[in-house]
Symmetry: C4
Subunit: 227 residues, 4 copies
């Protein structure tokens, strides 16, 4: 999936993130790669899963241990058609300090006026921090609520959207916003986008024109072709 | 335009910045790409616009929503022959904190002894922060005044100059200055260039010799050729 | 050794780090390159050493001055089968300030709940800070104790493991953790992984499946082929 | 000169730094490129100058405005056989804040226990900050004294050495030390190398073996060949 490549190339996912989309014809299914780094995923790696995170066709391939994230969010959020689970380094500090992670420039509006933090320990105690069970995915989906993004303490986060392009766009600018915000906090009190500005942007800044412009740019900068 | 490539390659513009120049023969016109990421702009993308930001030839191509920045600054500033609108990450923090953004080393003299901040909300309230109307461009041009650079709160900034090379030069060193200044502020009280030093530099550091030296260097480091 | 290449490509080692493994058939020997930057090491550079750090075959090739690190840790730690000595820039600050270097996200669990600091000056006074004698290697091994990682004040550190892949994995995430932790400390009080979480991760996050996924990814991103 | 390429590739010099060496047969002459970015310098660009910074052969080529740095340091320091004038971004903050810039890890020992700051304004008032006159070069050389490195406030710095390789080595680790030290100062009180450690390192860490190892590594990582 080209989305994997764009996100990997921009450092949003590393060896262990993943990107899924809801099945276009069957809303009770979703598509996700076999267990493989996003940088390397090719079409033949894509598999189909139920919202209970069972593979539809049983074969020998290894699966992502954390696919529970995907199925349970699709189950809880009919409006969501794509999900990225990421470990972007710039966002980790905001997950472990609880510092406000809010948009400071317009292209980052989609991360929303606030981003909840899901701490797996609150419900499940000492774990390896992976979302390996459906009940964990349900709990994460509950914390996500109606937000587009959730932070995962000591782990990373999830980005959701109505399309794969929205998710890539939001994830790239979430990372850019986290980097600039970290620097800004070192300089002084920060003026965030207002809620009114975020609302105004939500009506115009996901236009296909803008998404296509970014898409064309990011695709051209991919330095490795998996095939 | 090679200027787009240089700026994109050095991270001054991302998918959404743009670079224009005043028409060399008609000062009431300017040249700007169709809506496309600077990294990918080629000669055939360049279009001609009036200072009211209307395209001279009507065709089907999508246009930058923010071209109002360009036309209205050209109208207000006869001395300006090139403009870059940018989202350089290192400068965003200075737009949202109001921290002094002044030159700390000689090559950055051209950013000027002070850089005004234009906050779109001051006049236009809650918007999507884009400069989509001529009156917004006029207001930005008014805040820019006789400066070479203006910050745009929650957005990025504009860099102007008498030539495209000046603009590229100023924009590259604005970014470098912002990066080093952010680090310096973390170390202790900062000694900026004096106004006398900035003035002295203004008489010598835009010589074609220096601009050509930088140009040759930056061009050689471009890693992607759009054609 | 591909491990050298992965670590060099990710900035964990520079011109002066090195990676060794215990001889698979003779636990009283280990394998290490002749004196050469990890980025450039090829199979023919690999030599065999005793745990007293003497080369088994005498030839003319220059040797790493600090091979004492390797032999004396292998002697002290029968469970260790691979070692990386590194100068990763992100970890240097934690060696000279004594700031807690603990995992803040799950993939970094392997660095352990605490990382001892070895200061060569404590026993050996003013030296050139290199570990050039067996007694220095012994002292470092003593400070390392049963930990997987040790910091070396004013120098870098060592990462040990049961396999080369474990060492590469731990070293890469040690660096990522140091980078994110440095940023987090600038934001506010930090919530580290709990000891229970580190323990839970230790049972599951070194699975071959995960290591292979990272390996495949990192190998694909190597930009230079030494041969 | 390959030294230019190594330094440019590692970001020590940008479009405007330069590297010179004393003439191997005539100690009252030195070799320096015509006015050109170090990244692009080739053998044919090298020219010969007197210690008064006059070109020995008069031709049409443009010259570096700041060659006064080189000739006057060679005149004042018979032990110096190579000089780099640089604008490395990581060192600029230490020039404008006066923060201690001392080695925190062994490979940076050569920058010395202290690095004087030369402020051109102390003697010459408001200038464009360039070292354009021999008397400025003399004043800088006086501040440098017997040190290997000097900072230049609002500008960059100079690195000197007994060979080109020493200069490249010192300049690369000066930059690495500045980066790690900036991060360390954000974490807490810093333990620098002791004077005894710096002295011990000075007897062993400039060995040809180590310089060659770095040289081979850095050369292999150069991504652009000027010819």
């Amino acid at each position: 999936m080209p989305s994997d490549l764009v996100l990997a190339n921009r450092g949003v996912v590393d060896s262990f993130g993943h990107v899924s989309m809801r099945h276009p014809d069957r809303p009770d299914r979703y598509l996700l790669s076999r267990s493989r780094a996003p940088y390397l995923v090719v079409d033949a790696d894509i598999m189909e899963f139920t919202l209970e995170n069972e593979p539809v066709s049983h074969d020998e391939r290894a699966l992502y241990a954390e696919r529970a994230i995907h199925g349970r969010i699709y189950a809880a959020r009919p409006d969501v058609a794509a999900i990225c689970h990421k470990h972007a380094p710039a966002t980790i500090p905001f997950g472990v300090t609880g510092t406000d992670l809010r948009p400071i420039f317009h292209m980052a509006w989609a991360i929303g006026a606030s981003i909840p933090i899901w701490d797996i320990a609150d419900r499940f105690g000492d774990t390896n921090v992976l979302v390996t069970k459906n009940e964990m995915g349900d709990h994460l989906a509950h914390t996500l609520g109606s937000h587009r993004v959730a932070r995962m303490r000591g782990h990373g986060g999830v980005v959701t959207g109505a399309t794969l392009r929205e998710v890539v766009f939001t994830a790239v600018y979430l990372q850019a916003n986290a980097e600039s915000l970290t620097a800004a906090i070192g300089l002084g009190p920060v003026l965030y986008l207002s809620e009114g500005e975020i609302d105004a942007a939500s009506h115009t800044l996901f236009e296909p024109l803008l998404q296509n412009r970014a898409r064309e740019n990011w695709a051209a900068q991919i330095v490795f072709d998996a095939e």
